[in-house]
């Protein structure tokens, strides 16, 4: 058989001319062995084995470099002839015409799944399956921790007797000592005295505890009126959540610095953009100490102090309506502990 056959395809020929295939060579392998010898020698015997390795690497590296730059230096390039049997290599066969490429032979019934169809389906199906198996846990991990297992924080504010009857205090406290300063919150607290619980007929202490989170977009509302050293001494206590300061205040209401929302002393909105009254803390009396629990949302408050009628709702985010037709926009609220 002739090793050289004239190709009928001129395009094929020009391609062959373009390609600069370097001849197969063993030099890189020798070079690699030299490098390995250097590295192994560094551990075992740097003087002897590494020196041998260096010599091997330099010699083979030079031979490889000489081979690779042969064409650039203008030396004749030796190309090995095709050694496979020509029939095996595909000589004499022609490609199917362009419009028949990738099309199943005619004698295959249309209902039969061809090999390529099967592979297409398998690739897409398996790829989708693997993608789904990875995406589901990853997406769950990205989203769910913010919704599940939300902790309720209890904040000890000291003995009930600390709070004189009818006086307001501004309390700032850390709700989660592990989380630290970022969990610091402020509440306005007033002791309303002891009232009779209508459900149990037992005397129970009554407190008004208003959260300072504005019901517009959550900025910190401030007490409008004299506060701090102007009117009395701050009370300092040590509680389970760290140091606690109670600042006396005589608020005429509350105002938000961000967008001008105004509230009266019970937390009812009097002006500005807030959509409801200020949130309140629920509380419990534990061994004579006032303990703050979660917050809840309030639509409005009628009356004041112990006699106040509070329109209570579960905790909603700032800016979300709890009553009226606008509340229809927030039918499902994520799990919250206030």
């Amino acid at each position: 058989m002739e090793p050289e056959q004239p190709s009928p395809d001129t395009e094929q020929e020009s391609l062959h001319e373009e390609a600069h295939l370097p001849p197969p060579t063993l030099w890189p392998i020798g070079f690699a062995i030299g490098i390995v010898l250097i590295l192994v020698g560094l551990i075992i015997n740097p003087e002897l084995i590494s020196s041998i390795g260096a010599v091997v690497a330099i010699v083979f590296g030079f031979l490889w470099f000489r081979d690779a730059t042969a064409e650039l230096r203008g030396e004749p390039v030796v190309v090995d002839p095709e050694r496979r049997d020509l029939v095996q290599a595909g000589a004499g066969r022609t490609a199917p015409p362009a419009d028949r490429q990738g099309v199943a032979p005619v004698n295959v019934p249309e209902t039969t799944v061809t090999r390529s169809r099967f592979l297409e389906g398998a690739t897409l199906g398996l790829g989708g399956l693997i993608g789904g198996l990875i995406t589901i846990p990853v997406a769950g991990f990205a989203i769910l921790p913010g919704f599940l297992g939300q902790k309720e924080h209890k904040v000890d504010l000291g003995p009930v007797s600390t709070f004189p009857l009818g006086k307001w205090f501004i309390a700032t406290f850390v709700t989660d000592p592990v989380e630290g300063e970022v969990s610091r919150r402020t509440a306005f607290i007033r002791n309303n005295g002891v009232v009779t619980d209508p459900s149990t007929n037992q005397p129970t202490p009554s407190f008004t505890i208003i959260s300072n989170r504005c019901a517009h977009l959550g900025c910190p509302v401030q007490a409008n009126g004299p506060q701090g050293s102007l009117i009395g001494k701050s009370l300092k206590e040590h509680t389970a959540n760290g140091p606690l300061e109670l600042i006396p205040a005589i608020p005429a209401g509350y105002g938000c610095p961000c967008h001008g929302g105004q509230y009266d002393t019970e937390g009812n909105r009097t002006a500005g953009p807030p959509v409801r009254a200020l949130d309140r803390y629920s509380f419990e009396i534990n061994h004579g100490r006032l303990v703050l629990l979660s917050t809840y949302s309030v639509a409005k408050v009628v009356g004041t102090g112990a006699q106040a009628q509070i329109y209570k709702y579960k905790q909603y985010g700032p800016g979300q309506h709890v009553d009226g037709p606008e509340a229809w926009f927030y039918p499902l609220s994520p799990p919250m502990h206030g």
Partner: protein, 283 residues
């Protein structure tokens, strides 16, 4: 290879050899990847001759994004996204690392300043670019999809601004994020869920900071890079529009057979007028 009528001088021969040495690796790369040709096509493709300086606003915005990406990578080497309190100073660790970058590290003030002010530059350039595209009518067929991709890049850019604002972890950062997240929370139906996802809980915490950091430096920039790639692909495929006052573009007629050029992958002929528009860039 240059053909000489006379015998080449030694300097000419040396020059030729040098050229060959320089071109050899480029040819090597081109032969195996076609990258050189691709880059040449991208950089030196034809555009309308009456093109306008306003049409550089897009690449200006791209440059601004690259500045953000590079300065951001460097800042990430020194920034610590931790809301924990440093026991020695009583300050939050994240805020301290920003303070360190700005006031103590060599040239930290400069790189942080580039990142901070560059953020506004990026947004402003995107809006100017958008205005140019709108006023030139360059959003019309067949470039509608590229307008949509551009809007997505703009949204992603604004999200970068929002998530980046929390990272200094000072009072401004904290309260701006409180307001911004609660603003999202007031959206009907899914708003409260979106807000809680952004906060990773019902209150802003250290987890919010790390979440915003991850979104700011990994997820959103990745999305922007992907979208910019698509945006540029469409610019190259569809060509650049002539300005609306272009006489050149107004004179272009569709091809002789009347149906306009058929593009590969299109199942119906391009409408007559639109073909001129679509072809305007490549002529």
């Amino acid at each position: 290879m240059t053909t000489y009528k006379r015998k080449p001088t030694k300097a000419e021969v040396r020059r030729e050899r040098l050229e060959e040495v320089v071109l050899y690796p480029l040819d090597w790369l081109e032969e195996r990847s076609g990258l050189i040709g691709g880059i040449r096509y991208f950089l030196f493709r034809n555009v309308p001759s009456d093109i306008n300086w306003m049409q550089t606003l897009g690449s200006a915005a791209l440059t601004a994004f690259l500045v953000q990406a590079i300065t951001g990578v460097i800042l990430a080497m020194y920034y610590t996204p931790s809301a924990a309190t440093d026991p020695h100073t009583g300050q939050p660790v994240a805020w301290e690392s920003i303070d360190n970058i700005t006031n103590h590290l060599t040239m930290g003030w400069l790189v942080r300043g580039m990142h901070k002010w560059g953020a506004s530059v990026f947004i402003i350039l995107m809006f100017l670019h958008m205005g140019r595209v709108f006023l030139f009518g360059a959003y019309k067929y067949p470039r509608e999809l590229n307008w949509i991709v551009g809007v997505l890049i703009l949204v992603m850019g604004l999200m970068e601004g929002f998530t980046g604002y929390l990272l200094p972890w000072d009072q401004t950062a904290y309260w701006a994020s409180v307001v911004g997240i609660n603003l999202n929370g007031t959206a009907p139906f899914l708003g409260p869920w979106l807000a809680q996802f952004l906060r990773s809980g019902q209150e802003i915490s250290g987890e919010t900071l790390t979440r915003f950091y991850s979104l700011h430096m990994l997820l959103i920039p990745g999305a922007i890079i992907g979208l910019i790639t698509l945006h540029l692909y469409l610019v190259i495929r569809l060509g650049v529009t002539s300005p609306p006052w272009s006489k050149e573009a107004a004179g272009i007629e569709p091809s002789e057979n009347g149906s306009g050029p058929l593009r590969p992958g299109l199942t119906r002929p391009v409408p007559r007028g639109a073909a001129a528009q679509a072809d305007g860039g490549s002529k």
